[in-house]
Amino acid sequence: MSRTIGAIALAAVLLPATLIPARAASDADFKTAYAAADAAEKQAGALRNQWTTTEAALAAARKAAEAGDFDQAVAQAREADALAKASIFQATSEKEAWKALEIK
């Protein structure tokens, strides 16, 4: 009996959480996400190793923000951030790793 009541109570707590939609992203959310991605991409640029896909994601983020679609804009900015960070990792690890490919 007490188990059933417990399950109902748990469901009562969890159910509304699944029904309430997540808060829509705002212009401020976009600006925060974009600034982080842009900074990472600038760092990749200083390492002379930017990726075209990062640039494309940044452009898509700006375009979505201009159209007022901040959910999409934030998603694209986060994508750009992840890509930029991957390109930084690549450039950093390749500082030594390139030697493994060299013909000797």
């Binding site: 002379r48 190793n49 930017q50 990726w51 075209t52 896909t53 640039e55 890509l83 991957a86 390109s87 690549q90 450039a91 390749e94 790793a97 390139w98 030697k99 490919l101 060299e102 013909i103 000797k104």
Partner: protein, 288 residues
């Protein structure tokens, strides 16, 4: 007396050690650049990988690796697709600038038969100077606007200059200047460094996989890859300079290309040309 003899022996031994140390070439650190050894290893790698390909034939890129492609190319060479560019380049080269001077005034031997010496290291500037860069510097020194490094005019000019060097072996020099050695080493580093979202280096395609297909293209070997430049590419429906080739390679692997004639590309061209020393210039070339 004994002490005196001992002192004298020590002095003699020391003198001998100093003599040996100064007479012998300096010891090379294990990872210090050794361009001559690099070039030998580079050549040996391709010769061993493709024992049926004659050394000079590597300059013909994918045609040296694929018999069918070779036959088609030989037929195309009857009326080569770069012919228009070659003619245009010849005319451009001979046409004086507004000040009456011409390209011939900027190059040794009037610019004829000198392509095999480029890129060269300019000890005054401390940097690598490619043929494309030298041509634009010549234009600017004579009051003309520089050409785009990736468009037809530059391709035409370099096509003509390459044509006048056909058959001459690449003869790239690395002077005894630490900056030249550093430029060479930086070029090598660029060549082997993976970049772009696809995580490819130049070597991924042109060392590990020449003769293999990547989508519809048959990859060319890195040995002799610049000897045929500039090239008419059917894929581009036009001519392409070395700058165009480098920037396109970068964007194909989803990397943002650097500026044409950036230090990185100049050094890369220096390295790639040096390791192909001795192989004949075959440009302008044609590729699928």
């Amino acid at each position: 007396m004994r002490a005196c003899a001992l002192f004298s022996s020590v002095l003699t031994a020391l003198g001998f050690a100093v003599f040996v140390a100064t007479a012998l070439p300096p010891a090379r650190a294990a990872d210090a650049p050794d361009p001559a050894a690099d070039a030998k290893a580079f050549r040996d790698y391709f010769v061993k990988k493709f024992p049926k390909v004659k050394l000079d034939d590597f300059v013909n890129g994918p045609y040296s690796m694929n018999e069918d492609m070779r036959k088609q190319w030989e037929e195309k060479e009857q009326f080569p697709p770069y012919e228009f560019a070659l003619e245009a380049g010849k005319e451009m080269f001979a046409t004086p600038f507004k000040n009456g001077k011409s390209y011939a005034d900027c190059f040794a031997n009037g610019g004829i038969g000198v392509r095999q010496n480029y890129p060269m290291f300019d000890e005054k500037e401390g940097k690598v100077v490619t043929l494309e860069l030298a041509l634009n510097r010549c234009r600017e020194a004579n009051g003309e606007k520089p050409y785009s490094y990736v468009k037809d005019e530059m391709a035409s000019l370099t096509a003509y200059m390459a044509f006048t060097s056909r058959g001459k072996p690449f003869d790239i020099k690395i002077p005894a200047d630490p900056r030249a050695l550093e430029a060479y080493q930086e070029g090598k580093r660029y060549f082997y460094t993976r970049r772009g979202q696809l995580n490819f280096s130049c070597a991924t395609c042109h060392v590990q996989s020449p003769g293999e297909r990547i989508r519809a293209e048959t990859l060319a070997p890195a040995l002799g890859i610049l000897n045929a430049m500039p090239i008419y590419r059917s894929e581009w429906s036009g001519m392409g300079t070395i700058s165009r080739r480098f920037t396109t390679c970068n964007s194909q692997i989803r990397g943002v290309p650097l500026e044409p004639q950036s230090d990185e590309y100049r050094n890369l061209e220096y390295y790639l040309s040096y390791v192909s020393n001795g192989l004949p210039i075959s440009g302008p070339g044609a590729r699928p």
